[in-house]
Subunit: 307 residues, 2 copies
DNA sequence: TCGATCCATAGGAGCAGCTTATTGATGGGC
DNA sequence: GCCCATCAATAAGCTGCTCCTATGGATCGA
């Protein structure tokens, strides 16, 4: 007789605490009265104490029963909420998403995030900024669920989906000869020292970034290597050289630097969302899908499950 | 197929989250592997999401499963604690006890309470002080579980058990002729105005309290009626008259009043614990029993129930 | 004293959950 | 490259628990 407690016991117990009448409580539970008597008795042997004091004329809660009632009630409520929550997580409506992104994409990530949060207000997004290598490492190791990188190369284990494109622009010191106009031809920068991130930080990104110069027949030589765009444009403003940068990292510019549109065949920088290949988790799917237009993603009336 | 969730599902789910292997988890649960597969599948249809991603080589938690695990764990732990608590309440080892007592018994109630709290540290005692009528009313109405009264008369619906006895003493102003000694004969107070509570506040208590005077052949006439002993002895100290009081309410006395032992046949005031007749709740029994000597009331190793 | 009410008990039936046996898929070893 | 080991899913039958109906027994009002 070492039966274990089941939720049935709690459900029956609570019905009886409310009705204080075996017949009515049983009716409400859609069972016959003897079944309820049995189960309540069983619960009492499990707990080891009398929960109801009954005569043939009345049913009253004992102190132990009175103490147990709110706890049982709360337990069932909690469980219902937990099931609901698990369901939402499973459908990608709630949960936590780790997003790793390169610092130079902060503006675009922010825009995307605002849209995603509107669609999935219950999802907690954890952000991690870093260099391209950090982002990819986080993705590989599972530290991040989604990575956001710029001009990445294709890989077997990673899916890329385009998040945004933006043109490259030139950034020159305000005392540069070309700084008086709004536009510049790449070849006009041939003699200037070039400030840029090291190629090792992202070969494909580096090559894309310098494409306008190579299109103009310039032999690309980086005079000053910096890791952060913020540092690069600051150095430009200080008159140490010029750079070619994706538009979004040049707004705003520090005083002393000036942005110029590039003449010639347009080259774009592409920002990708990167996910592990085969990662079909709903939240990941929802995040990458948030850039595409679409209706509200969550059902209007979340179904409440009986417990 | 609208089966309801049961604790069995949670127990099986948790075992599987820990083992991440159907065979081992089933073994630990003392069931066969297919039974576990069935129940997990059933749980998943109830929740509406996949909780484990399984291949024939591996079993992994999904995000929904990972989100549900700590909640399920906590639910079972909570339930175990709740059952434990209900058991303790049922055995009178925990819970709440409402004790109504007369103000003049404060000292004795305090002593009794200290002993009771030592024995039942988990019981929360709620105290209500008032006059004898308040105490009895609270007991009748169920507002109080135990009442503590002084020199009460027997009643059909209330059980009395003696808590303490104490002698009566006289209290006189320090300028009273008898105040020079330590003792006094009751008849020496015959001419003094008597300060006491009204007889209507408790006829039996009043009669007991005035017994020493009546033994001395004095016709008892209360000159000044007060409800609280504190007020009575203050009036005595102010020289308005004398009184006869149970010892405990005369310690300490305000300046200006002096306590004298009474000569003659001793009369005692009895303090009773009053309970509703037939109230066999363990806490009530334990409280009334706390005055009698006895070992520790709670088992040394409370049994932990499996859930 | 009789009847009504209501909880407990008794005995039987149906089904949920368990069992063993087997299938099917995956991955490692020779 | 084939075979075997591993492991979860499926199939089919059995067991035991929960529920049922019928009845007993206690209490209260008329």
């Amino acid at each position: 007789m070492d039966r274990r407690i089941e939720l049935r016991h709690l459900r029956y117990f609570l019905a009886l605490t409310e009705e204080l009448h075996f017949g009515r409580a049983a009716h409400r539970l859609h069972i016959a009265q003897p079944a309820l008597s049995q189960q309540i008795r069983q619960l009492e042997t499990i707990v080891g104490v009398e929960l109801f004091r009954r005569t043939s004329r009345s049913v009253r809660l004992t102190q132990a029963g009175a103490a147990f009632q709110p706890r049982a009630r709360s337990l069932l409520d909690t469980l219902a909420a937990d099931l609901d929550e698990a369901g939402r997580v499973g459908r990608g409506e709630a949960g936590r998403l780790d997003v790793a992104f390169i610092t130079s994409a902060t503006t675009i990530v922010g825009e995307h995030l605002r849209e995603f949060s509107r669609r999935r207000p219950e999802v907690q997004v954890k952000l991690h900024d870093g260099f391209t290598t950090d982002v990819l490492t986080a993705l590989e190791r599972g530290t991040a669920d989604v990575g956001i990188v710029r001009d990445a190369e294709q890989r077997d284990d990673i899916d890329l989906s385009l998040l945004a494109s933006e043109r490259f622009v030139a950034v020159v010191p305000t005392d540069h000869p070309a700084a008086e106009g709004d536009r510049v031809e790449a070849r006009a920068l041939a003699a200037d020292p070039l400030i840029l991130f090291p190629r090792s930080a992202g070969p494909k990104a580096f090559d894309t970034n310098t494409q306008p110069l190579r299109n103009a027949g310039i032999d690309v030589q980086v005079t000053q290597e910096c890791s952060h765009w913020h540092t690069i444009v600051t150095f430009v403003a200080a008159g140490l050289g010029v750079t070619i940068a994706p538009y979004s990292v040049t707004a705003p510019l520090p005083p002393g630097a000036r942005r110029l549109e590039l003449d010639g065949p347009p080259t774009v920088s592409q920002i990708f969302m990167a996910t592990r290949r085969g990662d079909d988790r709903p939240l990941v799917q929802a995040f990458t899908a948030a850039s595409t237009a679409g209706g509200p993603a969550r059902p209007l009336a979340p179904s409440r499950r009986p417990v």
